[in-house]
């Protein structure tokens, strides 16, 4: 079991897990945003490594990624800055496959491990294409985190649950990242299906924006990932403090909701 999974398993006993997302390299103070999110009660932080063609991301994260790249951020510069974060919760990166392939599987996995990064989400690398990267990541001690989607058939969901490390990223709706007015009707069913398929921590993400939505979603999963709602604060000129306050508000809502109870 990876240290990431051990950490999340322990934390989920207390309250639903909260994993905020921050676009790496977006703004000179992005590492302070990560520190603020961690200090405000995150159980882990997801750091985006921007890619020029992010097909799983909606307009908010596209814009932050575009600005980060335009300001000269590179995968290597972001990983180097992440190495100096010194936060007391695990950091997981999210990127796309081309930068990983371009750097080389072993070299990229090694650079993440050296930076103390606990896991990596690569949304355009599904189970069937995972092999080279998955083996390199596992060997380096970086958890390859897989996604499950509402369209994933039950038998495949079991295989994804068996292969993912750290946690299972359960996509809460049919669509790409971005804020939604309401929690998607399929979100809780998705969380339940995933928890039936694996006992690894299940985090619901995509379209979970508000404290109310986070609390509602957490009743059917081990926790949530919140991205676009926080990145929007940064796009609108907010800084670490504003993001920290938003994370603290999410934290309070999840703490009130309490642990989501016994697993099936």
């Amino acid at each position: 079991m990876t240290p990431l999974e051990v950490h999340l398993r322990a934390r989920r006993e207390r309250a639903p897990l909260l994993v905020p997302y921050v676009t790496g390299g977006f703004g000179a103070g992005w590492t302070d945003v990560v520190r603020a999110a961690a200090a405000a009660g995150a159980d882990a932080v997801e750091v985006g490594i921007p890619f020029s063609d992010p097909v799983m991301d909606g307009p908010t994260i596209q814009e932050a990624s575009h600005r980060a790249l335009a300001s000269g951020a590179t995968p290597a510069s972001i990983v180097a800055e992440a190495a100096r974060l010194d936060v007391d919760v695990p950091v997981v990166v999210m990127t796309y496959y081309n930068p990983v392939l371009h750097a080389g599987h072993e070299r990229f996995a090694g650079s993440l491990a050296d930076a103390g990064i606990a896991g990596a989400i690569v949304p355009d690398l599904p189970l069937d294409e995972l092999d080279g990267w998955g083996e390199a990541a596992t060997a380096a001690g970086v958890a390859p985190v897989l996604l499950a989607a509402p369209t994933t058939p039950p038998e495949r969901l079991v295989r994804i649950g068996a292969r993912t490390e750290g946690f299972l990223y359960a996509v809460a709706l049919l669509g790409v990242t971005g804020e939604r007015r309401d929690l998607a009707p399929e979100a809780r069913g998705m969380g339940r299906r995933c928890r039936e398929a694996t006992d690894k921590p299940v985090l619901l993400g995509v379209g979970i924006s508000t404290p109310e939505q986070a609390a509602e979603a957490s009743s059917a999963a081990d926790g949530v990932v919140v991205g676009s709602a926080l990145v929007r604060i940064l796009l609108e000129g907010g800084g670490p403090e504003a993001v920290g306050e938003a994370v603290a508000e999410l934290r309070r809502a999840l703490d009130r909701a309490g642990p989501s109870g016994s697993r099936p």
Binding site: D53, N98, L101, P126, T151, L174, V176
Partner: protein, 408 residues
């Protein structure tokens, strides 16, 4: 007319998970995997189903106007010193080879019980073809098109809307074909249960490069038989086609893979291969993954995809289909390029010598032949060039460019 179109037997599927040598594959968000598995199964069954093939052959004949002729270019041949034959995809309904693919995918859409189609388009030819097939079959149609291309291909935007399609301008990234594919993929992630993504080229995740090749190989099969009739049973010495994503080239090459003909794909050299502003992904790309497939892509040293450039919107793409990458690696086909300037010259040359206005995309293939005739192409050689589309859509743009040049 029905029955004149003969579809050759199904070609070999790619190996493994959509692999052409080291290229291809299915690198997509998990949400799309089940839909791609379904599509692969449905196409495998349909392509072996005589009723499906008959219906498609009938449509290609009665509706699209196939078979298209091969035209011998007497004046151009005399001028260049090589014998030039054109495969006339410009004469199909909607004016390019794109119709071959969309009629097949529209039949597949109906077979899968889906009511809406989404598509990307660069020059607008695939968008127009898709909108046309959707009108014919009563399917909803949404076409994603880069905002830059919406500007430079206004006529095709109007045609799509006239045909009942919704045209969605895409402003992200470079606002061209690459970004239109990104946005179509995002839209598909959100609507995959009810929507078919009618991809227009031999790019994207498995099974698209295979499906589109199978649906386009009618071009090469017809051309092979037509060349043999004309050349007393011989094949041409060279077979040349332009390559953006590469669907007209793959369709053409598929008919000649087992012939002795030399296969040449011509990419967009834009302002020149060393200018950093071109679309020559085989010449200057490196292996990578974009839009669901491992292939050759223009990218920077950090693995960020670079912006392509070409005067022709249909070649303005920073990658190439995986089967082309494999053909380049094996050496069965070679890949050359022509600049914007050379393509514009060829656009005029064919118009004046043969009375045929080529699409700017196809003009790249002609431009390479015009440059290399009597140089790397020996005098008297027979060259088949696929004229993938007609140039009406480009007339306004070329008129502006030539006027700007005159004003200097």
């Amino acid at each position: 007319m029905r029955g004149e179109v003969t579809l050759g037997p199904p070609g070999p599927p790619p190996t493994g998970l959509g692999r052409f040598g080291a290229f291809g594959g299915r690198f997509v968000p998990e949400t799309l995997v089940p839909a791609l598995v379904e599509l692969e199964g449905e196409f495998t069954r349909a392509w072996a189903d005589a009723a499906f093939r008959d219906e498609l052959a009938g449509l290609l004949g009665e509706y699209a106007g196939r078979p298209t002729p091969v035209t011998e270019c007497h004046r151009l041949s005399e001028r260049l010193g090589v014998r030039i034959l054109l495969k006339r995809e410009d004469l199909t309904h909607t004016g390019s080879h794109k119709i071959n693919n969309v009629l097949g995918q529209a039949l597949l859409t109906r077979r899968m019980g889906k009511a809406e189609v989404i598509a990307e388009t660069g020059a607008g030819q695939h968008g127009v073809a898709t909108a046309t097939a959707c009108a014919l079959f009563g399917l909803g149609c949404r076409v994603f098109m880069g905002a830059v291309d919406v500007e430079r291909q206004a006529l095709n935007v109007f045609r799509m809307r006239l045909l009942g399609a919704e045209v969605v301008p895409v402003t992200s990234g470079s606002a061209t074909l690459k970004d239109a594919v990104n946005e179509a993929l995002r839209a598909w992630v959100a609507t995959v249960g009810t929507t078919h993504y009618c991809l227009g080229s031999v790019v994207g995740p498995h099974p698209f490069p295979w499906i589109v090749r199978e649906l386009q190989k009618v071009v090469g099969e017809e051309a092979r038989a037509q060349c043999r009739d004309r050349l007393e049973g011989r094949d041409p010495d060279l077979v040349v086609a332009c390559v953006g994503g590469g669907s007209n080239a793959i369709g053409t090459f598929a008919g000649f893979l087992d012939s002795p003909a030399e296969l040449v794909g011509v990419e967009a050299a834009g302002h020149g291969l060393d200018s950093g502003r071109h679309g020559a992904s085989v010449a200057r790309g490196v292996p990578g993954v974009l839009h669901g497939a491992r292939s050759l892509f223009l990218q920077d040293e950090h693995g960020q995809i670079a912006e392509a450039h070409s005067v022709s919107a249909g070649l303005d793409y920073p990658g190439v289909g995986p089967e082309h990458a494999a053909l380049a690696a094996s050496g069965r086909a070679r890949y050359e390029s022509a600049t914007d300037r050379e393509a514009l010259d060829a656009f005029s040359l064919l118009s004046r010598t043969e009375g045929i206005v080529p699409a700017l995309e196809s003009a790249h293939a002609l431009a390479w032949v015009a440059r290399e005739a009597r140089r790397s192409i020996p005098e008297g050689a027979t060259v088949l060039v696929t004229l993938s589309g007609r140039g009406d859509k480009d007339a306004a743009q070329v008129a502006d460019l030539l006027a700007a040049e005159r004003e200097g």
